[in-house]
């Protein structure tokens, strides 16, 4: 009698054990992703996601999708290759948002009293759904990278616009034109974050006039395709079942 056979004495018990493994596995997967993806996000996109006055039309749009497509690409490989499950990207971003909200609420607001209106996270679920569905329908990492990666980058800005738009309303502030987001960043003092390290609206996309967000989004989408490729290999590396087979 093998070890596996001895774990359950009936079919009903085997199903029960299987579901317990599912729940435990899902919990562990979610929490591991919450922690690891969150650290990755903070180290790479950092202030662009922390503060509303960093969420601009150029660099925020460009940087955030590129650095965030990493974990979804890797986890998609693990879940699709080994389990044929197409929700790797979605579980990643839900974990990330869960971690970010804990951080923003308890640390930024609860500890240091920055208002939530200044420090809420970016919205990334729409891109993740599209990435997952493209993998489900195509079953191809190549198509997922090209079509899904493109969709991931392109939908980021419009997906956030319903939340961001009110922050771009103009205000005359003591004789100076500022957006609401600018005033928030100016009012709520960040002693360790002087204004000059705020990397917004830098670049030379002048020929596009005011419509630079779509250009930035296309560039971001293109880079997301490349990063998806790279991180899909990381996913292959991490989703080895060599040890399971050895057991």
């Amino acid at each position: 009698m093998s070890a596996l056979q001895s774990a359950a004495s009936s079919r009903a018990e085997a199903i029960q054990v299987s579901r317990i493994v599912d729940y435990l596995g899902l919990f562990i997967l979610f929490m591991v992703l919450t922690g690891s993806y969150h650290i990755h996000a903070m180290l790479t996109m950092g202030d662009w996601d922390f503060w509303v006055d960093w969420k601009d039309r150029r660099l925020w749009v460009t940087v955030v999708p590129i650095v965030l497509i990493t974990f979804p690409a890797a986890v998609q490989v693990l879940l699709w290759e080994r389990l044929r499950l197409p929700w790797g990207a979605t579980v990643c971003v839900l974990g990330l948002l869960f971690g970010e909200w804990i951080n923003r609420y308890f640390n930024f607001w609860g500890w240091t009293y920055f208002p939530i209106t200044l420090c809420f996270p970016s919205q990334i679920v729409p891109g993740a759904i599209l990435l997952d569905v493209v993998l489900l329908l195509s079953g191809s990492y190549l198509l997922t990278a090209i079509v899904g990666g493109m969709a991931w980058g392109l939908i980021f800005y419009p997906g956030n616009w319903p939340v961001i738009a009110p922050y771009h309303v103009p205000v005359e502030y003591n004789g100076t034109l500022m957006s609401v987001a600018d005033i928030l960043g100016y009012n709520y003092v960040r002693t360790g974050t002087p204004e000059y390290i705020r990397m917004v609206e830098k670049g030379t996309l002048r020929t596009f006039g005011k419509d630079v967000a779509p250009v930035s989004a296309f560039f971001s989408a293109f880079m997301s395709i490349l990063i998806y490729f790279l991180w899909h290999f990381v996913g292959r590396w991490f989703s080895t079942v060599r040890f399971l087979k050895a057991t």
Binding site: H168, P170, S179
Partner: protein, 415 residues
Amino acid sequence: MKVLKDRTALWSFVGLLLAFAATSFYAPSASAHGEKSQAAFMRMRTIHWFDLHWSKEKVAVNENVEISGKFHVFEGWPESVREPNVAFLNIGIPGPVFIRKESYIGGQLVPRSVRLEIGKTYEFRVVLKARRPGDWHVHTMMNVEGGGPIIGPGKWITIEGGHFADFKNPVTSLTGQTFDLETYQESNIAFWHVFWAVFGVAWILYWVRRPVFLPRYLLAEAGRADELVSATDRKVGIAFAAGTILIVVLSMGAANSKYPITIPLQAGTMRGMVPIEEKKSTVAVKVEDATYRVPGRAMRMKLTITNNGTSAVRLGEFYTASVRFLDSSVFKDTTGYPEDLLAEDGLTLSDNSPLAPGETRTVEVTASDAAWEVYRLSDIIYDPDSRFAGLLFFFDANGNRIISQVDAPLIPSFI
């Protein structure tokens, strides 16, 4: 196995107790900003803050307090600190306990970074609005790109009266709406984040209502992975994708309708800050030598002073790194300057009789106070650029002030 479990439980309990003890019995809050740990030469030779005035020491929530004064961008700016071509007038407070309503340099609102010129003196003013009750150490501060924060004097300000929850920060947009920035759009943020979270969870729940790991893994390993995805699954996937695109398009359109006028974030360095028109100092000062006597916590300077003005003057104050050494027989501070930074009788001269117009005199000046140690200015002898610097304030009989500056090597004395 039981022994292992018992030991794990025991040490976990001990760890928990230690963590509780370490955080419960002594967990002081940080109240200062590390100003004393900043290299002494940097504090002495970059920005000199003077004529500071704090409008109030106690305010209620929603009340304003104003900090004003001047700062001089020192000529002997150290090479190791990048020049202040990009600088930001900041305020050193422990988080947004106040909000910064306004800040001005030379009368110009400076919500963004500015270019400062070495050798110039600027007027500044910062208006803060009290937000969170408590005692807060409030510093003037200039951030310099490539140089870091250059912190000025700090004063305790108490916010009492009113509650944090009563704080309001109203702003009126150019489109005519007035709103409170403290809670601006919070319900909108919550709605969209909850909505998309539910949407994402629904997508995952659709899949995890069926077995997730073991059966699927075994089937995939058996080469039957394609059986795990049905035509219905694909249709549901298409529905989720279509729904996502539809919701994004519609919500973006709705946002554009609701906020038809929007502008990009405002950025870019502001130039052309107007300095104070300064007359050339009529008192010339040459530092013959300067020593810092470590055991006595005193700095001695041998100065040759020439009065090129039209009235007799006396030295009343030596200012360096926010510490003020006064000769109280010449000048007394009445501004409520922070006590720990004020040595009211810390300045002595070998001869401080009035220096007549045209007269030159060599005097020994001693600036002594515990502040040398408390503010770690004596650490200048361990800095890579051991020069001291500061401002000398001379006064005539009518109280007119003449400012000169000193910048010279400092030799430590250990006996």
